[in-house]
Subunit: 658 residues, 2 copies
């Protein structure tokens, strides 16, 4: 089972912070970065609780009506991993060797470090740890300390250190200060502004041992962190046993076996492992863009969940899918309030949020990405079709109606049809455009689904008629002369971007050019029209023409891009191109291709790599509750095996080359 | 000469802060709000020095490459007007009567106040004051105190009080905290961040007098404030004499005599008076949007100067015009740096600035209003044509070349012609559009002017050819079916705004609707295409069609709108409609029609009211250095008389209604 094991040899970048992210452990509630036991200056240790954020007012240089009011920032919590060691009074160490071994099959991380003092005394630290999936309040460590070449007094301290706020100096709009001043009362930590409580139970370890040469001292430490002040007694060995069992079940239903490319095999398992670890489980938390592994994007929930992550969960872990969708149902009141504030009907879900309120401070690439509302409806529909969970849909169908009402009030009927203006599509390198193809397509789908539900539940029939009419008359821009789908009303009129004059170091463009310069050019950050082609039927010829036009204009500066282009390449039988995209997607974080895995995993891309294999290589399609597959395996791949759970029934799919 | 006198009876709103603005005195360098001698809780006293600002970093909720870095905020300086009075120990007063009389003919303000103590002792304070145009460092007051109904000890203190920073609680994006912590050393006040020096000379007055009933005590106070530590000895009487002479000269060249509407007559004089008072004179300062009368828009300089104020100065006060244009020439290095930062050629002038650097914190309605660059070129050309000041143009022609270079790099040649994308036109209720008609028209004009200069000075001829070609091929959108000029590529496709469902209190829209909602509708804040029609030739039929289409869609939420619609109404012989617009423009601040005269005068509108009379009623046109006029007087106006200075020669124009 070596393919379930991750070691440092698998990493393209072994900087301290990269290791912290990639070997981070999480259980959907609690996440802990795999920082060094004795931190270096490069270390960025910390732990996170899903949905535990601090808020502060957004300051605008120039304010306007209806802007998002507060930042919400997932708090970087305790350093649970630092070990304070002194050997005969010496407390400075240099790292000689490190070895990490993540057993993805069991969810257990094993680590071994050798350190030396200035005077040459060597010590080995062996760690075994887990973020428990059986008891999600617990992070557990087994620690062994071995005196390698000396006998003497070894002082060992093991405490949870509260991370104090520190500034971020780097220019990167995707990063934000994530620490908070916590108000401490007994074992309760409360955020000052958001007034959220966190209860902890830490038993510090602090002893001085007398170790003989080669002698090993072993102890276990359990750290409890929970939103509720309610802790159960557990032991390390029990937790480890439970963890192993839970992961066995996980892989039994969710593994993908791919023969012919070991790197891709490991990459996809690594991705599925992190997806399982960072997904919220309680209906009140969702899946942060960086999971629970880092502070990028402030721990916010985006459309990534619906369009990149939920397909995997819906098809293999429907209980998790249900919990993620329940989160949206639970924040419906905030979405209704937001729509009313902006003087629209129905519900307008936040582009980025933790607590349900909009927290995007730049609306052209935030609130204006209204498509998230159609994305949510799409995910509900997919869940509906795949799981057949009638109770859930019956209970939450109001979400869909309210979204449809929003779109009816935001769009308008013109001589051309139902139009939707002043939106930003998935491609954030154009903003505030009219009739974004992806958005209009998704809204059309939303209207149809809402109308179907209305008929199914025999209600809102007058509205259903309007929704169907709007869907039937939905306007889509098409360039007859070039036979191209228009990304939006003006995209094809834009000036070409001078790719040949853009040096490599100027990517991602957003860090090197003003938005106005980017927006006025034909240049894409990520799949947009092509994403619509991944989801909906269209002639292969049309898809191919659009693919050939848009792909060369796409920088893939967003990690959400390559996997989608890969699926669509498969769809038009360009299996080897698809393979190239998959390799990039499947190993994006392992190879640190985006250059910022240190800020946390690229969760959406991880979900995207699942889409690449299942929607792409295996050509999965769902029609009337029946699945269809087709073989798009590239030459190098001998076979692909995976499971899907359709309406409660597990189906194994096995696709072989020839 | 009663028409040169302003009293409280002329004001539509006599709140303390409104009076402070409208009776404020200024001399282009120093401005003092006409606050009560004994401030009430509503008072907002203060003085300003043109261009004296404090800067602090702009905080962005979400930052991006190339955003403006620092706020620049004109500092609200000393309260120079408060008189501390105590009668037999009583220091609390209630205001019984106030009478203000501004002699615009001489630039002298006379005020009389009656106050009473709780025990009924009444005192009269008479003030005479001026912001000296002869010595722009000086604000001078003559103060008389009369014991009306008592004999006793009157303690009088007269000091300059430094205004301490205070927050602004009101939601209004057009207002910003304008006080600063000043670092004081001797008579030098230095701003902490911008490191600007201000030197002061204040001789405090502090005496206790024994006054008999009806006895009057009179003294004078001179307050010196200057960017240079260099003060000359002056007396109040000399300053008053000089002031009277200077204003006599001013009115001799700049007055407009209008017979038939006394209110309009007073309104236009009031406007010209303030224009003369707030215009920068030294080539390093410009004309703040609110002049030197209030803190609205942070004391920033906008395109208002070029398009609304400079015509008046160019035609009647060319020395002031020259100084305002010199300011642009002096900030050319900042504009070149800004263009380079955004990776464009030439010079990109800041949308709003004091020190030449961009300080707009919301680029869609800031930097994106690139038209300011064409506006600057337009004003240089007008100055060139009207004054014939060849030396000035020879010295500063680089400004025009650099602007033309910017436009060549920002726009692009397509199959349709030379296009300019991703700009915001004058109408701020649409943003980031393609081929804004006004912008393209102004850029075309810039290209032609730059090419002409190149020929005149026999240089840059290769570039001149490109500029001419781009101008000749400039793209203008036109709706053939409706025979309408397109405000931009998408404006005519937008959803109509539901004016009938918009309650009166929801204007201005920007304070009540999210930008996305506003931008996606056919609704204008101000004249846009119609402004282009004011400036350039076009068939009357076309102008009339465009006017009839755009005017009903225009909220006139901007004070820059009505005057322009007025001029264009005159141009298409709708003299009575023009008259309605002029009345609104000429008395906008006197009647407080925008509701925020308390924040300062609406300078651009004041300039606009001059345009209304001269470009509109008198139909002024300039062709090859020759002026032409035509009679567009509305019925109620009997005659109009004014002067224009063409190439150094004063011409009196007299237009009579039959």
């Amino acid at each position: 089972m070596t393919d379930f094991t991750l070691t440092l040899a698998d990493l393209g970048n072994t900087s301290a912070q990269n290791i912290e992210t990639l070997f981070a452990q999480a259980n959907g509630i609690l996440g802990v970065r795999a920082s060094l036991p004795i931190p270096s200056t490069e270390s960025s240790p910390g732990s996170f609780i899903n949905g535990f954020y601090e808020s502060h007012e957004i300051v605008y240089g120039e304010n306007a009506y209806g802007y998002a009011k507060n930042h919400q920032t997932m708090v970087k919590l305790f350093d649970l991993r630092t070990i304070e060691i002194a050997i005969d009074g010496e407390s400075e160490f240099s790292l000689l060797e490190q070895d990490l071994r993540l057993e993805m099959a069991t969810g257990i991380l094993s680590e071994s470090y050798r350190y030396a003092t200035k005077s040459g005394k060597k010590i080995q630290i062996d760690l075994e740890s887990l973020a428990s999936h059986a008891n999600r309040a617990v992070y557990a460590q087994k620690i062994s300390v071995t005196a390698l070449n000396f006998s003497g007094a070894v002082k060992i301290g093991k405490k949870a250190r509260h991370i104090k706020p520190e500034g971020i100096s780097e220019f990167d709009p995707r990063l934000k200060e994530s620490s908070a001043d916590l108000q401490i009362s007994g074992n309760r930590y409360r955020t000052k502004n958001s007034q959220l409580d966190l209860f902890v139970k830490f038993d510090d370890f602090d002893e001085t041992l007398s170790l003989a040469e080669s002698q090993t001292f072993t102890f276990t430490q359990l750290y409890h962190l929970s939103r509720l002040n309610d802790f159960s007694d557990v032991t390390y060995d029990t937790l480890k046993m439970q963890q192993t069992a839970i992961f066995k079940d996980f892989w039994a239903s969710s593994d993908i076996e791919i023969v012919g490319d070991d790197k891709l095999q490991k990459g996809i398992r690594f991705n599925l492992y992190h997806l399982f670890n960072s997904a919220g489980r309680d209906g009140h938390t969702n899946f942060a863009a960086k999971g629970l592994t880092g502070e990028g994007y402030e721990g916010h929930y985006f459309w990534d969940t619906e369009m990149y992550l939920l397909p995997f969960f819906i098809y293999t872990q429907p209980e998790i899918a249900k919990s993620l969708l329940t989160f949206r149902a639970n924040i419906l009141p905030q979405a209704q309030k937001r729509a009313a504030e902006l003087e629209f009907a129905g519900a307008l879900f936040a582009w980025r949020t933790i607590n349900g309120e909009e927290t995007s401070a730049y609306y052209p690439a935030g609130t204006a990405q209204l498509h998230i509302n159609a994305d949510i409806a799409y995910a509900f529909e997919l869940y509906d079709n795949v799981t057949g969970d009638a109770d859930f849909i019956a209970k939450n169908r109001k979400v869909i109606y309210e979204i449809a009402r929003f779109w009816m009030s935001y769009g308008f009927m013109s001589a051309r049809g139902f139009e939707i203006h002043e939106v930003t599509g998935p491609d954030e390198y154009t903003a505030l455009v009219n009739n974004n193809f992806y958005t209009n397509k998704m809204v059309q789908n939303t209207f149809y689904y809402a109308a179907k539900l209305a008929v199914r539940f025999d209600e809102n029939l007058d509205e259903a008629l309007k929704w169907s009419t709007a869907a039937n008359k939905m306007y889509f821009g098409y360039d007859e002369k070039r036979q191209l789908t228009q990304q939006d009303d003006s995209f094809l009129d834009k000036e070409p971007w001078e790719f040949d004059k853009t040096p490599t170091e100027n990517y991602p463009l957003l860090l090197h050019y003003h938005p106005m310069k980017i927006y006025k050019h034909q240049v894409l950050k990520q799949a947009d029209t092509i994403l619509a082609h991944m989801l909906f039927s269209e002639s292969k010829e049309q898809i191919a023409r659009d693919y050939d036009f848009y792909e060369p204009l796409t920088t893939h500066d967003s990690s959400l891009s390559r996997a989608v282009y890969g699926v669509v390449a498969s769809k038009i039988d360009r299996n080897e191109q698809a393979y190239d995209f998959f390799k990039a997607a499947a190993t994006m974080d392992l190879d640190d291709r985006q250059g910022n895995a240190s800020h946390g995993i690229h969760a959406a891309n991880m979900g995207g790599s699942w889409l690449g294999l299942i929607y792409g290589f295996a050509g999965l399609q769902l029609e009337n509750g029946q699945i269809k597959t087709s073989n798009h395996l590239p030459k190098a791949i001998k076979s692909l095996r995976f499971n899907l759970l359709i309406r409660g029934k597990m189906t194994e799919i096995f696709i072989k080359n020839d």
